[in-house]
């Protein structure tokens, strides 16, 4: 789906010119997968995300979307149609004055005919659960709702992949949950490839694959359970591991034998419960 080959990126006209924001990144994102990209501020994760739909063009190396290089300007619209993007601030990506018109914005740009446009807008709004609010003005919605409208706007364009650039960073816990559930459905039920840039470990744990970035390089790339089992390494990179993983790790250190790679609170609680029962017997 998306393939990065030796991607290096340097910002022009900035104070620290010449600093490599991305340094020789190689990454292949499979169709239908759910990849989380983790990293602390300044690790280059957002910059990498912007390469996936040709918002940024690599200084060196190549990014291919479905085999097409993002350097081909003529294919720009094809690339952006197949890879949609949802940004951090929900306010700054809603263009129109009502929910349904905003969802229609991308379709208007693509020149989709009237009847099909209305069908697609309706379907997209229903799939994020915002159909009831379709006539509302965006500023009257909650953060989570706005972000879901933004997602609907991307879904309506029927992309194969959606890149989420810290979509929950500005939301309250309720909004965060709403958005994460929507992302899960997109990937699970609609088969859309998801790339989730985040710094919340709990969110990354929901992915099939976690890529950890530091100083513009990929330092870890594995299933979430495997990545989080390296607690020391993750902590050294300025990141946190999910609470559950931390508990399991502490127990292991105390010499208590508990199966590793647990990511769900319930799993962990059950395992500990079992252990306690065994000891009592």
């Amino acid at each position: 789906m998306i393939k990065c080959e030796n991607v290096t990126f340097v910002y022009e006209n900035e104070e620290d010119e010449g600093k490599k924001v991305l340094d020789n990144v190689n990454l292949n994102i499979e169709k239908g997968s759910f990849v989380a990209v983790l990293g602390r501020n300044g690790s280059g994760k957002s910059t990498l995300a912007k390469h996936f739909n040709a918002v940024l063009i690599p200084t060196e190396g190549n990014v291919f979307v479905n085999g097409v290089s993002t350097k081909e300007e003529k294919k720009l619209f094809d690339i952006r149609r197949s890879v949609g993007m949802v940004f951090q601030n929900p306010d700054n990506q809603i263009v129109a004055t009502t929910v349904e018109e905003d969802v229609a914005f991308g379709l208007e740009n693509l020149g989709v005919p009237y009847d099909e446009m209305h069908k697609r807008v309706e379907a997209a709004l229903k799939s994020v659960g915002m159909y009831e609010q379709r006539k509302m003005q965006p500023h009257l919605l909650s953060g989570g709702q706005k972000q879901r409208v933004a997602i609907a706007g991307v879904i309506a364009m029927q992309p194969e992949c959606i890149v989420f650039d810290e979509p929950t960073a500005m939301l309250d816990p309720k909004g965060r949950k709403e958005v994460m559930e929507t992302i899960k459905t997109l990937n699970g039920e609609m088969g859309i490839t998801v790339v989730l840039i985040t710094h919340f470990m709990e969110e990354a744990a929901k992915a099939d694959r976690v890529v950890v970035m530091d100083k513009g390089q990929i330092v870890m790339d594995d299933a979430p359970g495997k990545v989080f089992s390296h607690v020391e390494k993750i902590t050294a990179l300025g990141l946190d591991v999910p609470q559950v993983t931390r508990v399991v790790n502490l127990l292991k250190k105390k010499g208590i034998d508990i199966k590793g790679e647990m990511l769900r609170t319930k799993e962990c609680a059950d395992a500990i419960d079992m252990l306690l029962k065994e000891r009592q017997n």
Binding site: N53, M85, F87, N92, V95, E100, L107, G111, Y114, Q137
Partner: protein
């Protein structure tokens, strides 16, 4: 507070005036304005006044609400009236007081000027009361479309207007937030003289502008990501179609114009 600002104060009563096509209403506004400006005799003034009142009744918006929207205009109306009364010139002196002479002609001029301003404002208020800003914008875009032949960016203008409408409440909210943050740090914009108030506003406007530019930047990127490339080959989510009622409205407009024209010619012949 600031977030409650509704530009144009759309007031939906689902009246027949509300359901008219925005293009029809925009043209209607131009026609009404022309009639108001052309009016000279008492009969013509009476005619346009009646038309305006009829439109106001047709809109089913409460009179009090329409008049409330005119509040800021009263001062201008009073001012023009006073100027016209005393500076009007004319022959037939009604009375003289100190250095001022008031004539019959000046009184008539002042009165008609007042009426004109009030009618103009009422008619344009009626347009915004009966048409939601988004619909109005798309109507304007369609009306200005022929001007694209002379390189007038009609789509871009409409897009700018609708983005401005979209961001007014957002920026209003932000201004409120900044105001509170500044007030918490002891900035006082409520009291003091004019100059002090103005300088108190600087800490409000500087961050507001910076953030508006940042928003514009992010929005532009988001729009590009959704394949925005200006007005070419674009389809519209909202379809504008003239209905029967629009035809009726156009006929009525034509009749009104015709009546005035006939009245003028007949008056001229006599």
């Amino acid at each position: 507070m600031l977030r409650d600002i509704t530009i144009g104060q759309y007031y939906n009563t689902k009246s027949s005036l509300h359901s008219l096509d925005p293009r029809c209403k925009l043209i209607g506004l131009v026609v009404m304005m022309a009639l108001i400006f052309v009016a000279q005799s008492v009969i013509e003034y009476a005619f346009v006044t009646l038309l305006t009142i009829a439109l106001a009744i047709l809109s089913r918006v409460p009179m009090a609400y329409i008049l409330k929207g005119m509040k800021p205009v009263w001062l201008i109306v009073a001012f023009t009236a006073v100027i016209n009364i005393f500076m009007g010139g004319g022959e037939t002196v009604v009375f003289t007081w100190w250095a001022f002479t008031v004539t019959k002609e000046a009184l008539y001029l002042a009165l008609s000027m007042m009426l004109r301003v009030v009618l103009l404002v009422t008619v344009s208020t009626l347009l915004t009361l009966t048409t939601s800003p988004t619909v109005l914008t798309s109507g304007l875009e369609k009306l200005l479309k022929p001007l694209e032949k002379v390189k007038f960016p009609s789509h871009e203008v409409a897009m700018m207007m609708s983005i401005a409408l979209r961001f007014i409440p957002t920026l209003g909210e932000e201004a409120e937030k900044i105001m509170k943050a500044q007030a918490a740090r002891g900035n006082d914009i409520e009291s003091g003289g004019f100059m002090k108030k103005i300088s108190g506003m600087i800490p409000l406007f500087v961050p507001l502008f910076i953030s508006a530019f940042r928003r514009a930047d992010e929005l532009a990127m988001a729009m590009e990501c959704r394949c925005y490339a200006g007005g070419c080959n674009r389809t519209a989510f909202r379809k504008l179609e003239y209905k029967k009622s629009d035809a009726v409205a156009f006929v009525l407009m034509g009749t009104a114009v015709l009546l005035v024209v006939i009245y003028r010619t007949v008056g001229f012949l006599i």
